[in-house]
Point group: C2
DNA sequence: CTTAGCACTCAGGAAGATTAAGTGCTAAAA
DNA sequence: TTTTAGCACTTAATCTTCCTGAGTGCTAAG
């Protein structure tokens, strides 16, 4: 649906005014403050039209208008002009991400941190989807008397690792054999493929060597499960003081999002790569998110998924600024990862 | 300060009534519902006395009384009778903790989970203080082309681990040498001791072998830092619907506690071992906690710290029930850990 | 020492009035 | 035909006033 220029300018004005105040916007306000060259009456008529077309909403009959999700969508896609980052902002981002990062997992957290700081919303960082990763290396490490650490290095650089109780029936000298065997039979294989029928790949020799490899095999399998994704959030506090949080349920919904993390994982999974994705209110299926906007930016290098950074804020977001910021941060991050050569999924979060 | 029996019984009644309703309690309510055998007038007088003594507070002059922190303190220490857990509750706890837990880090999380479920408050689980731990074993594991995993096993069973970029100037054949050397020179040493002057312990041979071991040494050091403690929470949502959260600041304070975690770490550090510790409102120094009670139970076996489980809730907690619950869960947990032989501090959180 | 009785206090809610912001529509102006 | 001034109308929000109910402290009688 196309809008004529006047409608666009009015919609833009309403959105900017509403973004600034969080209050329904009236026609006179627009007429006075945004000299568009029309009287309040004309604007009033146009606002009525825009409402009919679905771009604006009216909380009640004698109130001003607020933008609908569709209104924001149109604004983002067809009206707003992205605001370039200031030299200063770029410097801050470059500065923080430039530091010689030895701990790779710190990188994505840092990026998330910057996002929260620069935007004043809550930022998220989500580990990569492992579904399509291939096993690059498996290491079994004996720890102390009774534990075994299983480490899987994936071809996207992510590391999954876990510790199980070392069972006495699994003789020490076999660990090396297992290690070799596991690498031999699983290297280069797809995570999902292994997960679906690990026994097929492993049964022959492994079960021959020792009767009690079941815990090991189980845990190995667990590490391959796709759902096993880490979520970080920063700046959740930033959202608490927003006026939209005054509505009873909004806050509860938000805390639900934080606590369950399901919605976040799901959105991160779906996000189209190489692009900043914006989900406004009802645009995503999660009831709890209906009053929020989520922006995600999936990080990818050479077809390898490296995780997702993102932002959560009110629908009334400063999109003009926020989208370029996340784009810039993501691009710097990917650049940095390319140099670093690998990415750790953050499951090893020694500070 | 001792109270006569009548005052005790009235204080107890007020606390129980207030716990149930979260509303100031009046003298007639007590007289009618808790047949203590005194008229409301007598109770009124006693309540005035109890207020003067600091055990009760009055929100405003024509309102009933609410228990002060001191009142709760006295109630816990000298009045209440702990309520035995029902057979059912014990079963639930035993059941969940009885499962054959292969993943040791799951254990403390499970315990925390149970606490949240059984009490309907928010539960916490905090990794062990490592200050007084000794190094039991160090492993360096090469991962892929360019990374090195450092794993430290401590004598309390905790495992600290981290990954650094593997530097080309650190030849592969040296890793084994390093490994041997690090174990040789650091095994049995106190974390804190090493941290304070790691170079003294490591410099000689290590720096001789390769010029660029600095990242490795730094990271090793990082892993020893005391502050590097993991905090889990469950059931934070449970607290949102409490009437006390209606007061603007209480909720903010709560979210602050969750987000910063400082207060939690601090309290876990200080808690006296082998006992359930209760911190009511202002009894702990953290401003944000002034409207909450925190209960901690430090887990210890043979002088080895294994972390802390705990609860956060309103001051108006059901102490009679909650304290035995946390005690029971903690004891079962310690029993379980004793069998398991070791405890993983949860930094390896593959689900 | 206990309690009945009573005057007093005060938060919270209901009812009503007022205000301010904004609308839609009509008719005049451009 | 489009724009705009003008105006009647709507409604949420706020303020005021009044009232009620829960609770108190104190006094005097039991």
């Amino acid at each position: 649906m196309l809008l004529d220029d006047r409608k666009k300018r009015i919609l833009e004005a309403v959105i900017e005014e509403y973004n600034a105040t969080a209050e329904p916007v009236g026609s006179t306000k627009i007429a006075n403050d945004y000299n568009l060259g029309f009287s309040s009456a004309t604007i009033r008529n146009e606002m009525a039209n825009l409402e009919e077309l679905g771009y604006l909403e009216q909380p009640h009959i004698s109130a001003g208008r607020i933008p609908s999700s569709q209104g924001y969508r149109f604004y983002i896609d067809s009206i707003m002009q992205e605001k370039n980052l200031s030299v200063q902002e770029k410097q801050i981002i470059d500065e923080i991400l430039k530091e010689d990062v030895i701990k790779l997992e710190t990188l994505i957290k840092d990026a998330s941190n910057i996002l929260a700081k620069l935007t004043n919303y809550a930022s998220i960082a989500i580990g990569p989807q492992m579904t399509n990763c291939k096993v690059e290396e498996i290491k079994l490490v004996k720890l102390g008397q009774d534990r075994l650490m299983i480490v899987i290095l994936a071809d996207n650089g992510a590391i999954k690792e876990s510790i199980i109780k070392y069972d006495g029936t699994l003789p020490e000298e076999n660990i090396e054999i297992f290690n070799t065997y596991l690498n031999h039979s699983l290297k280069g294989m797809n995570f999902e493929e292994i997960y679906n029928n690990i026994n097929a790949y492993v049964e022959n020799e492994l079960y021959n060597i020792s009767t009690n490899v079941i815990p090991l095999v189980n845990e190995l399998n667990n590490l391959l499960v796709d759902n096993n994704v880490e979520v970080y959030m920063e700046g959740t506090k930033n959202l608490l003081s927003l006026p939209e949080m005054k509505q009873e349920n909004t806050l509860k919904n938000f805390l639900n999002i934080i606590e369950t993390q399901d919605a976040l994982k799901e959105l991160a999974k779906n996000g189209y790569d190489g692009n900043v994705n914006v989900y406004i209110g009802q645009e995503n299926a999660f009831e709890d998110l209906k009053d929020f906007t989520i922006i995600t930016y999936k990080q990818k290098i050479n077809d390898k998924e490296l995780g997702t950074i993102g932002l959560i804020g009110p629908k009334r977001m400063d999109y003009k600024k926020v989208i370029p910021v996340i784009k810039y941060v993501g691009d710097v991050l990917q650049e940095k990862m390319k140099q670093g050569g690998s990415f750790d999924d953050g499951q090893n979060n020694a500070k």
